[in-house]
Symmetry: C3
């Protein structure tokens, strides 16, 4: 198992947990849990593979990814009632998954020899898009839209860290670590300490 | 015309009817009917083809599928006012389309020699995703989210039936029939008799 | 730079402006502006490229498209407060982008030798889908759903104009011009003068 395979599995596992938590909030049955776990877990990576014409798509080549996602769904189905605030848990797991997925997404693009802008975009896509599909399908407010929080910004900064660390010719595990650390620290700082960038203010005229 | 081509046409036709009914609920013009008919009719199969790198996509190769979808849209545009409860009609047509599409989707993956998990996923994707796109774009509540109903579960069970029937080396028409029957009976039982799986209960904490 | 490359750049620029306006209505930070600008700008063309198996996808081959989109986002971030009615501005820019994108999308499909129905669909997809992704992700009412306005219809008519003008063996710049003119005039007539097609009436039964 290569290092990027390990990253992909980890991101799948943690995103699947967040998808299952959303399924629990929607009070679905176990197959509904499987559905949201898989959608969230493989959504971003699938889009990355389609955009880069990388076939077979990672989970079509190796369906064990889906097994991991379904196992996570089963775990949440059996235990989610133990947690007092499932939404907070969801946010923190999502932050963790985001960090791993950005590292995996930008790392794969880097390995395939793509230019810096494409590496950055693939990091953002792999990080944000699975969670975005989860939120759009389940009618939750997409995390990319939450006011006064860093979200896309974290994946953007993490992907830029990948590019810089690669320029410095660090080994690929350290590149991934740098990327994940930047992504997670920014997101954690936003969730826990309220870090944010200046936002566009002015009352939005709705007509 | 092969058997799977016939299934694809049937699924396209019936899904197009459901897309057109949604367009009628949104009070669109005839081109809006075409749009929703085509989106719903080819959405799931298109995603299947993209994921399996099966080019040209079925309706790009043979645009007659789009003609069928537009004909269905025209039919609904002219006659939908005759039906008292268009939502109930929509639900039952959707159940019928679901059964055919799951059989077509899992059957194609089977024919291409994919492993059992991928066959199951392609059945679910081909069945659910067209209707999901229809519901997300039109702001209807996605059928996959409706509480206390079997929906994804039916497509899942139908796809598993495909896998089992193939293991038993039944001819492909009987495999498809078994799959469609399982999918439709479960969905019909859920709509008419309230069949459901245990769902995740516990009041969802929203903060 | 070929003529279609020029069209693609123009559509990217103007769609990016509309995406940024939506980001301003959602009060996002600058990276949120980048995200919506890029999603809107390349969404339709990306889907066209994936459906036609045209790799590398246009912006993966040439990331300068993303640079243009981000520059547009920065411009809007700095100046949007100067406009009194951002929604009206958004509608008119969207109309302009729509016209260019339909010409680019149907023109590319024509050049690749696809049949008339596929040319029409690719015009509609390239025109509508970027804006549709923008609206679905940002929780705005999708423009394709707005009652009593021509929207999909304009892209449909514009794409048909491409097919007819090509049949007449006009040079490709004139084909594109005809397509863009038809699309824009219909959309402008709908926005300014209330042009519309007969819509499906009858009170929609919601149960």
């Amino acid at each position: 198992m290569t290092f990027f395979t390990f990253l992909d599995y980890s991101a799948v596992l943690v995103f699947a947990l967040t998808g299952s938590l959303v399924a629990s909030r929607a009070q679905l049955d176990i197959v509904g849990f499987f559905f949201f776990a898989c959608l969230t877990a493989v959504g971003g990576g699938t889009l990355r593979d389609l955009l880069l014409d990388r076939h077979p798509v990672f989970w079509v080549e190796n369906p064990a990814y889906l097994g991991v996602a379904c196992a996570a769904a089963l775990l949440v189905f059996l235990t989610a009632h133990l947690f007092e605030s499932r939404y907070k848990l969801l946010l923190w797991l999502d932050a963790f998954a985001l960090a791993i997925a950005v590292a995996a997404g930008s790392g794969v693009a880097q390995t395939l020899g793509h230019s810096a802008p494409i590496v950055v975009v693939m990091g953002v896509v792999t990080g944000c898009m699975g969670g975005l599909m989860r939120d759009v399908v389940s009618n939750e407010v997409p995390l990319v839209l939450v006011k006064g929080e860093l979200y896309v910004t974290c994946t953007f900064a993490g992907s830029v860290a990948t590019v810089i660390a690669s320029e410095l010719e660090l080994p690929s595990t350290q590149v991934a670590l740098a990327c994940a650390a930047v992504t997670f620290i920014l997101r954690a700082g936003s969730l826990a300490l309220g870090w944010q960038l200046p936002v566009y203010k002015s009352r939005p005229p709705k007509v």
